[in-house]
Every structure is written in structure tokens, then in C-alpha cells.
């Protein structure tokens, strides 16, 4: 008995050691430097190092470019994300239950996910040559992100086992109501996760936008949070950069935590 227990502890220790390489790397490149970023956000500059506490945050939150970029980032979330998820839902439904020919189109919808933006943006520039609207960036966002949404949703649809439907039919449910109800309840967590992931990915549209405009100063309507930060990066303005990095991370942290809390409620 004692021997077995010791063996269990030894095994458990070994399993914990498996986590170590990843934990060390994550600490060295993310966690420890992030703490320094927090520190930078609270001092006046890197040489004097006087604590100014929230001054950098106040400066950032009242900076008109920061507010403009925040507004644009939020606008992308409330407009493009719902369209993206709806479109992905329709496509996934067709890919899961459609005829063979429809299923074969899957390759086309998932492909953009792996296509390097740098390659594709040339065409975008050609097509929307004079457009000063936000539309090209929104389209690029939807085009680029539909793949991952379709992958996740299709996986959810196909993982609903037919036995679930059969069990419900035995309970006397009608066919149409049955399908809709079961399907909705089974894929709800995934739909929810897809929305969450798309919101988060909308913060990552900077690369697409940057490559499309080819400048650090795009038209006002496309000046998103990441431009603000990138420009501070180029100016080596570490204090503003640190403050906006911390603010953005708090925003994303809030969105993810709220999302996971809601998802947990769904499950009950």
C-alpha cells in the first residue's frame, strides 16, 4: 500500500515536471516582462524612474487618438462579429447536413484561415483602390476569420450523436421541434465560444489593416487600438505603450472572464 502511494507521488511529480518547459518559457517571455510593463506604466520615464502612479493611464484615457482607436475597435466588434458568426453558422449547417456537393465546398471556406494576409492584401488594394470606407477591412476580417468559426461550429454539429436524437424521438418529440431544440442546446456553448473568439480576434485585425493601408496613419475610421500602440512603439514611448497595453489586457481579460462565466451558466 505504502509502496503504491509512493509510486503515485513519484508519477504525479513526473507529470508536473512535464508542465515545466512551457511554464518557464511563458514566465520568461510573457509573465515576468508583463510585470515590468506594469512597472513602466506607473513611472514617468525609464531614466528618472519616478512613480507617477496613474498619470500615464489618465494621459492615455484622455488622448483623442486612443479614444478614436477604442471607438473603432468597438465598432468592429458590434458590427462585423455578428455578421461573421451568422454567416459561419449558416455555412456550418450546410456543411454538416447538406448534400455531398455542398460538403465539398468546405475547403474554400476554411482556406482563408491559413492564407498569409501579406499575399492577399495586394488584390484587396487593387479592388478597393479608392475606397475610403471601412468596408474593405471589415470584409478582410470576415474573410480571414470565417475559417476558424466554421471549423469549430462544424465540429460541434457533427459531434451531436444520432443516439441523442433517437432517445428524444422515443420520448415522443416531433421531428422538427426535436431537431431544432436538441441542436440549439448542444451547440450553444460552441456558438458562444465562437462569438468570444471572434471578439478577441477583432483586436488582432491590425496586421490586415496595416498591410492594406501600408502606413502607420490610416484614415481616421480605421485607426484602431493597435495602430495607437504600434505608433507609440515606433516613437519608443514606453510609458504610453505600457499603459495602453495594460488597459487593453484588462479589457480582453474582462471579456474572456465574462464570457466564460456566461458559458458556465449555459451548461447548467
Amino acid at each position: 500500500m505504502k509502496n503504491k502511494l509512493r509510486k503515485h507521488f513519484k508519477w504525479n511529480t513526473k507529470c508536473k515536471l512535464c508542465l515545466l518547459p512551457s511554464l518557464i518559457g511563458t514566465s520568461v517571455f510573457f509573465v515576468v516582462p508583463y510585470i515590468r510593463v506594469l512597472y513602466y506604466s506607473l513611472i514617468d520615464n525609464q531614466f528618472r524612474r519616478n512613480f507617477v502612479w496613474l498619470d500615464n493611464y489618465i494621459k492615455t484615457l484622455t488622448n483623442e487618438y486612443f479614444l478614436l482607436s477604442l471607438k473603432n475597435s468597438l465598432l468592429l466588434i458590434v458590427t462585423a462579429v455578428p455578421i461573421l458568426v451568422m454567416l459561419a453558422l449558416i455555412i456550418s449547417l450546410a456543411l454538416s447536413y447538406g448534400i455531398r456537393w455542398v460538403r465539398k465546398t468546405r475547403v474554400a471556406f476554411i482556406l482563408p484561415m491559413v492564407i498569409p494576409t501579406a499575399s492577399i492584401v495586394l488584390i484587396w488594394r487593387g479592388v478597393f483602390a479608392d475606397s475610403s470606407a471601412v468596408l474593405p477591412i471589415y470584409l478582410l476580417f470576415i474573410w480571414k476569420n470565417i475559417g476558424i468559426c466554421v471549423v469549430l461550429l462544424t465540429a460541434a454539429f457533427t459531434s451531436i450523436e444520432s443516439s441523442v436524437y433517437e432517445a428524444a424521438r422515443l420520448d415522443g418529440a416531433g421531428s422538427f421541434i426535436l431537431h431544432t431544440k436538441i441542436t440549439i442546446s448542444m451547440i450553444a456553448p460552441t456558438v458562444f465560444f465562437t462569438v468570444l473568439l471572434s471578439i478577441v480576434n477583432s483586436f488582432k485585425i491590425f496586421k490586415e489593416s496595416y498591410l492594406y493601408y501600408g502606413t502607420n496613419y490610416p484614415p481616421d475610421h480605421s485607426y484602431t487600438l493597435q495602430y495607437y500602440m504600434n505608433n507609440n512603439f515606433l516613437k519608443l514611448d514606453y510609458q504610453s505603450l505600457a499603459a495602453s497595453a495594460v488597459l487593453t489586457s484588462i479589457l480582453v481579460f474582462g471579456i474572456v472572464m465574462a464570457g466564460m462565466a456566461i458559458q458556465r451558466r449555459f451548461d447548467r
Binding site: C15, K16, G25, F30, I99, W101, L111, P116, Q226
Partner: protein, 253 residues
């Protein structure tokens, strides 16, 4: 109805492929007429192209391989080890996965600067090895694998390494293929890191070459964009079947 569906989805699929197809078509034309001039200029006259292409291959391949070495044991540890705070630690990985590059790039930069790795290939490779996406995906997938195989293997050996090789990795195949495709494409697509972490042109990647498009004559751009697509396209056609089964991210609770 079925026919209508088929037509709608064929058209929709074509729209989605159109940008890729148009890029390919454009690469074979010069001033409106079909020609191979762009490719000739790129492959024979453009001296920066080859080193940048190989840099892209080197970085993406090194990161993908090293990431597998790190994330497979890590995901295994998450599924087998018992300790307090494991759930919270995993939530931390999820949150880190969700963070946009603009949040993580400054910590990355500071870490690399202090270690003197700015303007070296390591500055690109090392932080990407520890990107949390693979850990989250693989740990989720581990939930669905057959634990009895691992239990049986433990009766024969105490070596975690041998159990990983003989009983875990074979079961992870689909997930590994999906992660390889996703991570390779992600690295191949990097623009910000090479632009901000590298100064020497000899270290930069093909994505930077295309991003700084204005510096070069138009004719070589589309051919460069097409050649830039090819490695990910090849991987895509080999591995895309594994995506739906491999990326089981949907339900994180």
C-alpha cells in the same frame, strides 16, 4: 431546393476563393498581357528574395517543431498531474491565448531586449515557441483520448517519455496535424515581430518583403505573393481534413 442550395454554396465558395485565384492570375500578367516576366524578374534579378524565403521557412519550421516538443508534454501534464490550482493555471493559458499581439509584443520585446536577443533569429523563434494556443488545443483534445492505454502502459514502465511515445502521441495524431497546420500558418504569417524585433534585412522574412511592397517594382510583387502562398497551401491540402476533429476548442468549461 437541393439544387438551389448547391448553386448558392458553389457561388459562395467561389467568392471565398476569388482573392487567392485573382492573386495567381495577376502574377502571370504584366501590364495587362499574359507573361512570365514577373517570375523571371523575381527569381533571377531580385537578390533579397531567396534569403528572405529561407528565413521564413527556417523560422516557421523551427517554431512548429519546437512547439510540439513543449506542448505535448505540457498537455499531458495538465491531463495527468493532480495539484491545487491546475484549473486556474489552465484558465491563465486560455486568457493568454486570447490576448492580442499588441498586448504581448511589448513584454516580448522587453524580455528579448534584456537577454540581448533583439536582431537575432532567436528573438523571433523563442517567444513563438511558447505561444499558448497549442497547449490549450492539445489539452482539450487529451480529454477525449483513451486513458486505459496509458494506465496499461504504466504497469510496464515508469518512464513518462516512453509512455508519451508509445501510448499518447499515436492517439494525438489528428490533433498534432491540426496544430502543425495552424501554428505553421501563424508563424508564416508573422509581420509585426520581424518588423519590430529585427533590424538587419538579411534576417527578415518574406512577409516583410511583401509588406514593404512599395520599395520594389510592381511586377515582382504578385509572383512573390504567390510563391509565399505555396508552402501553406501544400500543408493545407495534406492536413486540412484533421482540422474539425483536431481543434476541439468549442467547450472550454
Amino acid at each position: 431546393m437541393r439544387k438551389v442550395n448547391a448553386v448558392i454554396f458553389t457561388v459562395l465558395a467561389l467568392i471565398f476563393i476569388l482573392p487567392v485565384a485573382a492573386t495567381a492570375v495577376m502574377s502571370f500578367s504584366s501590364e495587362g498581357t499574359p507573361s512570365l516576366q514577373g517570375y523571371v524578374d523575381l527569381l533571377f534579378d531580385c537578390f533579397v528574395f531567396y534569403p528572405m524565403f529561407w528565413n521564413s521557412v527556417l523560422y516557421a519550421a523551427a517554431i512548429t517543431i519546437a512547439q510540439l516538443v513543449v506542448i505535448i508534454p505540457c498537455a499531458f501534464g495538465f491531463s495527468q498531474a493532480k495539484f491545487k490550482g491546475k484549473g486556474a493555471l489552465f484558465v491563465f493559458y486560455i486568457i493568454l491565448m486570447m490576448m492580442p499581439l499588441q498586448v504581448t509584443i511589448l513584454p516580448n520585446y522587453i524580455g528579448l531586449r534584456d537577454m540581448g536577443l533583439i536582431n537575432t533569429p532567436w528573438g523571433i523563434i523563442l517567444p513563438m515557441i511558447f505561444s499558448p494556443f497549442g497547449v490549450v488545443v492539445m489539452r482539450q483534445y487529451m480529454k477525449s483520448i483513451d486513458n486505459s492505454v496509458i494506465e496499461a502502459a504504466r504497469l510496464e514502465t515508469d518512464s513518462v517519455f516512453r509512455i508519451l511515445i508509445t501510448s499518447v502521441i499515436p492517439q494525438l495524431r489528428v490533433c498534432i496535424f491540426a496544430v502543425v497546420l495552424f501554428v505553421f500558418a501563424d508563424c508564416w504569417n508573422m509581420v509585426e515581430q520581424p518588423m519590430l524585433f529585427l533590424k538587419d534585412d538579411s534576417l527578415k522574412t518574406l512577409s516583410v518583403f511583401i509588406a514593404n511592397a512599395q520599395d520594389y517594382t510592381g511586377a515582382v510583387l504578385f509572383p512573390a505573393a504567390v510563391i509565399f502562398l505555396i508552402p501553406v497551401l501544400i500543408l493545407y491540402f495534406f492536413f486540412n481534413e484533421n482540422l474539425e476533429k483536431g481543434l476541439t476548442l468549442g467547450d472550454l468549461s
